[in-house]
């Protein structure tokens, strides 16, 4: 809920709630409180409605207020789904078609004027049915209907019915969504859906109260009422958003604890000191939108932000050669947490291109494959990594680590110039010379951006191909023009990335499924009947060693066919101040702030020591 609050509110709030330290400290206004201040550089929060929003910033904000049936475990790797609003993991019928969720008793919505008497009522199974209907309702233009589309019995009928001009009838029964009693939800599927639990962790599937939707109408996007650890107190769009710990959890005696299992490395990193403690630890979360990277960086250095990313421009100045932070930053207690992310960057070859693509003539097809393999062998990961200051992680196949199906061994078409030249000759381009023209082979690459970093990366890539005598002509497009070219299948080669929606290799293999060709996500327009067959087979398979084996088999086929050059897996580098505890990288960071802690004493001490020191941009005093 939002109160209309004057601008001076943060200071008043501080004076009222956080009477710590001497007056000198309280003049530092909002930055002394027990809070995590995070920021997102240019990404703005669009709407706080679980059904509508699709962007990362909104998802993160929504996940502080709302909750779903299940969530990802904070510490477990590989990522594991654990109960959140359910008593335990659902009962699944033997055929994998019926999921029964026991919803926890005594979970309450936040207090809000939309409820009778202003007190939040208890969460029931019907709330989930209502919420799921909202994303199926065409009138909501939800970006999340895909999570249930064609999967839940009867949900498509509801989707169709909502297309009428009449107001959508939420009383309409959906066969696959039933409340067996007040606290039991049954989901029935059309076919086994191994990713159901994964998609249920996403904000689309979070519980909203119908009272709030009806009460606020179109203003529901800025008046969220959830069951989560935080409530919205203040939102100045595109500028500042503030959440406070919801009093409802304490009132209703809701107990949520910090996970108590972890690996030895996690124990060593101090991630389990709070095991079994009641969460959330932090009273307030404040987030700013700061468009200018240098400003955000200086705000982080001066302690106003608890977290920061490192921009590539800053990298050299901030990091030492061996990937450590420079002395100035280390002295300020800033530390770095790095981990490979589930993002894969690749160069796609258009399967319908006359030079690189497939062909009905098996001999031509074979030669084109050799050419793609030769180009893959020309891509020098180490050089790219050197240019990106060692921030990349090599990729051996279409699935990033640590997902099942990722290939551990070095891929056969990683950098090898001799092999590249040999394959190139076998493809009919001896020494890179195109026999048709007598000149070097020319290829065109499309890129959706022209910022200096992209440009330099492409110049480096041009130089890599130059070593096997292939001329790369790079076209820098605006983002819409780039997607236009992709959608018209006009791009010969293109540079793209894919971030996992959920930790399952299936999410990557859909990019190679022939029914997903452009305008679907298979932008390479790759087609392989064997891949199609296995992909359809794994669609309904639950996680098992057999499925992982199939994933690996598919990965090997894709590597051999080389529709992509697997450029690299991105790594995340987060900088944090010493007073932030329990921080670890999570690929799905939605709602994970509740596990983090901010040590006020350490923070106060830090400000005493460091606040008057002048700094350079690199953090040196």
């Amino acid at each position: 809920m939002i109160h209309r609050i004057p601008m001076g509110w943060p200071v008043v709030l501080l004076a009222g709630l956080f009477l710590l330290g001497c007056s000198e400290e309280s003049q530092r206004s909002e930055f002394d409180a027990d809070e995590i201040v995070s920021y997102s550089r240019s990404y703005r929060i669009k709407a706080l409605d679980p059904a509508l929003s699709g962007d990362v910033s909104s998802s993160k904000a929504i996940s502080r207020i709302y909750e779903g049936l299940v969530e990802y475990d904070y510490l477990a790797r590989p990522y594991k789904v654990v109960p959140l609003l359910t008593e335990s993991m659902p009962e699944v019928s033997a055929d994998g078609l019926v999921y029964t969720f026991k919803i926890r008793k005594g979970i309450h919505f936040h207090d809000d004027s939309c409820f009778s008497g202003g007190t939040g009522r208890e969460l029931v199974a019907e709330d989930f049915i209502y919420s799921f209907k909202r994303i199926a309702d065409v009138k909501n233009i939800s970006s999340g209907f895909w999570i249930f589309d064609g999967r839940v019995l009867g949900i498509n009928a509801f989707h169709e019915a909502s297309k009428s001009t009449e107001p959508t009838d939420y009383g309409m029964e959906i066969e696959g969504l039933k409340a067996l009693d007040r606290h039991t939800l049954q989901i029935r599927l059309t076919e086994p859906y191994p990713q159901l639990l994964n998609v249920l962790t996403m904000h689309y599937a979070f519980a909203v109260a119908h009272e709030a939707v009806e009460h606020y109408g179109p203003h529901f996007v800025s008046n969220p009422v959830g069951t989560g650890p935080y409530e919205l107190v203040h939102w100045r769009r595109n500028s500042r958003i503030e959440f406070v710990r919801s009093p409802k959890w304490a009132e209703t005696g809701r107990s949520e604890t910090y996970p108590s299992n972890g690996t030895p490395e996690q124990i060593e990193a101090g991630l389990l000191k709070d095991a079994g403690e009641q969460i959330p630890f932090v009273d307030r979360v404040v987030q700013f939108v700061v468009d200018d990277g240098s400003t955000a960086w200086m705000m982080f250095l001066s302690g106003q932000f608890s977290f920061s990313e490192i921009s590539p421009d800053n990298w050299d100045a901030v990091m030492t050669v061996d990937e450590g932070l420079n002395e100035g930053l280390e002295k300020r207690g800033i530390s770095i947490v790095s981990a490979p992310t589930l993002e894969l960057r690749y160069i796609g070859f258009n399967w319908e291109d006359a030079v690189l693509g497939t062909s009905t003539d098996p001999e031509v097809d074979r030669r084109h494959r050799k050419l793609r393999q030769a180009l893959s062998c020309a891509y020098n990961f180490d050089q790219m990594n050197q240019f990106m200051n060692g921030r990349l992680y090599p990729a051996n196949g279409p699935v990033p680590e640590p997902l099942g199906g990722s290939l551990k061994e070095r891929a056969p078409y990683r950098f090898d110039l001799e092999k590249a030249m040999r394959l190139l000759a076998e493809a009919g381009y001896p020494e890179g010379i195109d026999p048709k023209t007598g000149r070097r082979l020319k290829l065109t690459m499309e890129v959706g951006g022209a910022d200096p970093t992209t440009r330099q990366m492409m110049e480096l890539l041009t130089a890599m191909f130059d070593r096997i005598n292939v001329v790369l002509n790079v076209q820098y497009n605006t983002s819409p023009a780039f997607h236009e070219k992709l959608n018209r299948k006009r791009a010969q080669m293109f540079y793209l990335g894919w971030v996992a929606d959920y930790p399952d290799a299936e999410n990557f293999f859909q990019l190679f499924y022939s029914k997903n060709v452009t305008p679907g996500p298979n932008h390479a327009n790759y087609r392989n009947t064997e891949i199609d067959r296995i992909y359809e087979q794994i669609q309904t398979m639950l996680d098992s060693p057999e499925r992982t084996a199939l994933y690996e088999k598919m990965a090997h086929i894709v590597v051999e066919d080389a529709p992509w050059i697997f450029c690299y897996q991105s790594q995340s580098f987060a900088l944090k101040h010493s007073w932030i505890k329990n921080y670890t990288y999570h690929a799905f960071p939605y709602g994970m702030e509740k596990y983090q802690r901010a040590n006020i004493d350490e923070r106060t001490q830090w400000f005493k020591t460091h606040k008057d020191k002048k700094l350079s941009m690199s953090g040196e005093e």
């Binding site: 421009d313 050299d316 100045a317 330099q456 110049e459 480096l460 130059d466 076209q475």
Partner: protein, 293 residues
């Protein structure tokens, strides 16, 4: 220069220009840049013909961000390429932009200006309306729009700059032609029964040639500057070294003390623009008959 007709104007102008030492220095600088541009074009053509990758495109990450020294007089950039070699190639792009855009803009401007000035009346009204319309649109936006339609790259730059900058010269030429058309030599030509086209282009045009030359020397650096801005914004030159691109990539590392790429490129832009502008001023002084004595 069409100075074969005698020393009256051009020989006179050269004598006066020779006395201005600053102008001579600038002329030398312009000639020096022209030589570099020709050298750059030869290097480019040669490699294109031989189907080879020129040295200024070859990367070597181990040599990235080398400060100026014996090996690389102006240092190296982020991919280990020699800044000086790329700077010289940049002169080529700059000159091509300057010359080709002038070749587009000046004929349009001169032709329309002559027509408007000589005929007056409805023709004049229409042309004045046309160039006022062009002039009322913000220049850079218009250029961007044209470049977006034509596509990125040099052609977009040529057309974008060429089609938007003929207004100034058109206005000047129109004014000059109006001044000239009532003069006795024009009346004499008319009395002889010469056609309008012949009067305009054979008799009036040579007399206003100095205006066009001066405009060219002033427009040239402006076009170079616009190219730098467009490339900096990422819609200009693709794939070849250009001053705008170099400034854009050098800017990121500037505060880390990697000053050489930025410094030398801006210095080159500065010198080129300054030389052309000073030369333009000196030419105006030398060529304008009214400033005689």
């Amino acid at each position: 220069m069409p100075n074969e007709k005698g020393q009256s104007l051009w020989g006179d102008a050269w004598l006066r220009l020779k006395k201005n030492r600053m102008a001579l220095f600038c002329l030398g600088l312009v000639l020096f840049f022209s030589a570099l541009a020709i050298y750059g074009e030869v290097v480019y053509r040669y490699h294109d013909l031989m189907d080879a990758t020129p040295a200024y495109q070859q990367t070597n990450l181990d040599l990235a961000h080398q400060p100026p020294g014996m090996e690389h007089w102006m240092g190296t950039d982020g991919l280990g390429r020699d800044v000086m070699a790329r700077l010289v190639q940049g002169v080529r792009i700059a000159f091509m932009v300057g010359i080709i855009t002038s070749l587009i803009a000046i004929p349009i401007g001169v032709f329309l200006g002559c027509l408007a000035g000589y005929y007056g009346g409805r023709v004049d009204d229409f042309i004045v309306w046309l160039y006022n319309t062009f002039a009322s649109m913000p220049g850079l936006l218009f250029i961007l729009a044209i470049a977006m339609v034509v596509g990125k790259g040099l052609v977009g730059i040529y057309l974008g700059i060429g089609l938007t900058t003929w207004v100034g010269i058109c206005r000047l030429v129109r004014g000059e032609v109006i001044k000239h058309k009532d003069q006795s030599y024009v009346q004499a030509a008319r009395a002889l029964g010469l056609s309008s086209g012949r009067i305009i282009f054979k008799h009036i045009l040579p007399n206003i040639m100095h205006v066009i030359i001066i405009t060219f020397t002033l427009r040239f650096p402006a076009a170079v500057g616009t190219e730098v801005v467009m490339s900096f914004l990422g819609i200009g030159v693709q794939g070849e070294p250009s001053w705008g691109l170099m400034i854009n990539s050098a800017r990121m590392r500037l505060w880390q003390g990697m000053w050489w790429e930025m410094t030398f490129v801006t210095l080159a832009v500065f010198l080129l623009v300054l030389a052309f502008n000073l030369l333009g001023d000196a030419l105006r002084d030398a060529l304008d008959p009214r400033l005689n004595d």
